[in-house]
């Protein structure tokens, strides 16, 4: 039988212009625009910015924050917030380094990375179970677990900095992806571990867009009780989410250590708000259910670039906070301005 058609329903419900529509659907375009504007401005102020080593430095500096941000993003997409990931990273990175150094000195690096991810995932599962069973917003739970994990690490596992890493970890941090000599005889290296970020981003994108779990994460972010009613297992989603973010954090921790050539258990904790800010600047709404992997990466780049051009454009130390703070406000304001147009 032929269905009755309601011809007054347009294929597209809105009557906005194409550009505004695009911006509202892909807010990361705004992030990209801001990013490009900054790069152009900095290049004009100091042409020295325009050299390949800038790109390499920015790429390398983005890895750890980028991994964190991917984890924060998928939790944000599901309507939660995580602030415990830095504690998870510090916890796994330090415990793994201790383990390798004191007990299994010849563990292959691949296994080290896998174990760190497993450890991070395990702590993430703790988060996921708590969030699911306590039925309180994940911000609250993860504030608790941040204190808990960091407290356990520093009170019971150790505080002593490990200055000479197990050799395989040190080698991993130094292994070049490519290397070249700049005009003035300096070596510029893009480390091998840089590849981890695009790989993790690709995997995250794939999970979010090509698996049922990915859609379930957004469904949860859209409306948790509806998702539950439709048959999505909230427990599975919660556990997966936090385990995945935990695994990324564990990986980020090891990379941080390897790159830094030391395992400092005091590191990382305290940077979580910056990571969340990066994700939000990448177009994900703090209330959940939206955002994209590419936007998240752009948001991270934005924060990294802003932080790494301050000296380049000659801003004195005492003024740097004012400049960064003002920038965040301007960027956020611009973001809202662009998005409001589709009102």
């Amino acid at each position: 039988m032929s269905a009755l058609h309601l011809h007054d329903i347009p294929a597209k419900p809105s009557r906005r212009s194409a550009f505004i529509d695009l911006v509202s659907r892909r807010p990361e375009i705004i992030t990209l625009a801001i990013l490009l504007a900054i790069c152009v401005a900095v290049s004009i102020i100091n042409p020295a910015f325009l050299q390949p080593s800038s790109l390499v430095d920015i790429g390398r500096a983005s890895v750890v924050m980028g991994l964190f941000a991917l984890g924060v993003f998928i939790i944000l997409a599901a309507g939660g917030i995580d602030v415990s990931f830095t504690a998870i990273a510090a916890f796994t990175m330090y415990s793994m380094t201790l383990l390798v150094k004191d007990h299994v000195p010849d563990m292959p690096i691949a296994l080290v990375l896998l174990l760190a991810m497993a450890g991070g995932a395990l702590l993430g599962v703790v988060n996921g179970l708590l969030v699911h069973h306590l039925r309180v917003p994940s911000l609250i739970v993860t504030i608790g677990t941040q204190y808990l994990f960091r407290g356990i690490l520093l009170a019971f596992i150790g505080t002593v900095w490990i200055m000479s890493l197990p050799p395989q970890m040190g080698a991993f941090g130094r292994m070049p992806l490519f290397q070249f000599e700049s005009g003035d005889g300096r070596t510029i290296t893009l480390p091998f571990y840089f590849l981890v970020l695009p790989a993790a981003a690709l995997l995250t994108w794939w999970i979010l867009n090509r698996t049922l779990m990915g859609r379930a994460i957004f469904a949860l972010g859209g409306n948790a009780s509806v998702a539950e009613r439709l048959g999505y297992s909230l427990k599975t989603i919660h556990i997966f989410l936090f385990a995945y973010a935990g695994a990324l954090a564990g990986l980020a921790g090891i990379i941080h250590t390897a790159a830094n050539r030391q395992a400092n258990p005091f590191d990382l904790v305290g940077s979580e708000i910056n990571v969340i800010a990066a994700v939000v600047l990448g177009g994900a709404r703090i209330t959940g259910g939206t955002g994209s992997v590419i936007g998240t990466l752009l948001g991270v780049l934005l924060i990294v670039v802003v932080n790494s051009v301050l000296v380049m454009v000659g801003i004195p130390s005492t003024w740097q906070r004012v400049v960064v703070g003002t920038f965040i406000l301007l960027a956020a304001g611009f973001f809202v301005f662009c998005q409001k147009k589709n009102g």
């Binding site: 269905a3 090509r210 698996t211 859609r215 469904a219 998702a227 439709l230 048959g231 999505y232």
Partner: protein, 526 residues
Amino acid sequence: MSHASHTPLPTGAQARPFLELRNIHKRFGGVHALRGVSFSIAAGEAYHLLGENGCGKSTVIKIMSGAHAPDEGEIVLEGRSFRALNPIQSLAAGIETVYQDLSLLPNLTVAENVALNEQLVASGGRLARLFDRARLKRTAEAALDVVGLPTAPAYLSTIVSDLPLAQRQLVAIARAIATRAKMVIMDEPTTSLTRREVDNLIAVVERLRSEGVAVLFVTHKLDECYRIGGHAIVFRDGQCVAQGPLADYSKHRLTELMTGRTIDSKRYRTGAPRAEELFAADGLSLPPSFANVSFSVRHGEILGITGLADSGRNELATAIAGVTPASVGRIRIDGKVERIGHPAHAIRLGIGYVPEDRLGEGLFLDKSIFENEIALVVSDLANAVGIVDKTKGRALAGKIAQDMHLNTRDIDLPVGALSGGNQQRVLIGRWLSINPRLLLLHGPTVGVDVGSKDTIYRLVQQLAEAGMGLVIISDDLPELLQNCDRILVMNAGSIVAEFDARATDEEQLYQAMLTSRSDLATEAAR
């Protein structure tokens, strides 16, 4: 079409029922929502679950769909007995539900809302599966086509929260029929649909039945039930009080069964408006929603406004309420020109607006009846030093609760704990607290049962009697005919017709709603 492959019905209707509920009980804290409910559903039949607000209709549906577990009783599904179902079990057995709140995922696309669940159910609820986008598209297109929504890629990828309410309702229905359902449950699916969309839906239901699908309807609109036909299941106070072919019950009898009393459906309007003009809109425009709208309301007059979902009537209403102010045009109140740029201006001028979406735009669900009732007058309740006189506030809220015949006297109860009809009364009551000169009621009885409707209509008449101007924006044409003096019909952002409510009927109104602007132009040319 995708449903063509259904196994044909075993003829001889009294075969084993598809689903049977036996002595189901459900309690929520102190509320005993279902008290020993039993009924059975056969394939290919239509059922109408009728009852007043809060009698347990939605609850029994949630038990069938696996959203709630019963406290006692048994669910027999195709011969297998269950103590409780979970959503995946229910879906896998072919029970699809259109919930009263639609249960859409606002941040996902139309296609995902329609067709994603099909893949979830196919995987048995396991999430570690690939998501098949081609299949999603196919399933979504087929289902959208059936309910009469566009199937263009642009529409498929529209985010659901960008859709108007009526289309969202259709999307929810499309999801229910996207799978090879054996039973489709619809909890008040037509509340925000216009007449034409309802016609289409009825056609869809016919089709489902012909394919052997059982359909269970919940609605407060008895006329629709009769148009569809089938069986009636009547609830009162969490119990099933009657069951049988709809044809065996008159409308009057059904109402009596639901409410336990007699209510007649005559015209409520008996009074007449006064002569003086109270309110006038002069050339209001807010592109692209409506343009050059002019009308007036007299003291004591009840004006109806109707039109299709995107005729601009919603935006006109929110413009007068100051929520989305008109960009052009003037408003006069008692002859004085006023500007309404913010809801607070409207309130100061004595214009009240009861929104259609009472949960989203009206009520503070987690907060008490008391706080909800005094929300508009808190600053008036404050004394010189800025302290709110709570005693006065509580007295006011208590009086409103009484005037509105709320079924509870405990004004500290959260509004979320009330049934839909009582919630609506709380919302209307809130507006009465400012003694408005003009009250706009948008869908005042959406999802409200006959008993509550009666209460609300009587109230509306009383208010008009007292000289208040009222504007009812509604698709419920009988409601407008029963209550209004005049009815304006909007189409494509303009007022296209005006009727004297006494001298018109549903058919005329309906025709005017459908007439497109170009037809009008042709008519004018002639």
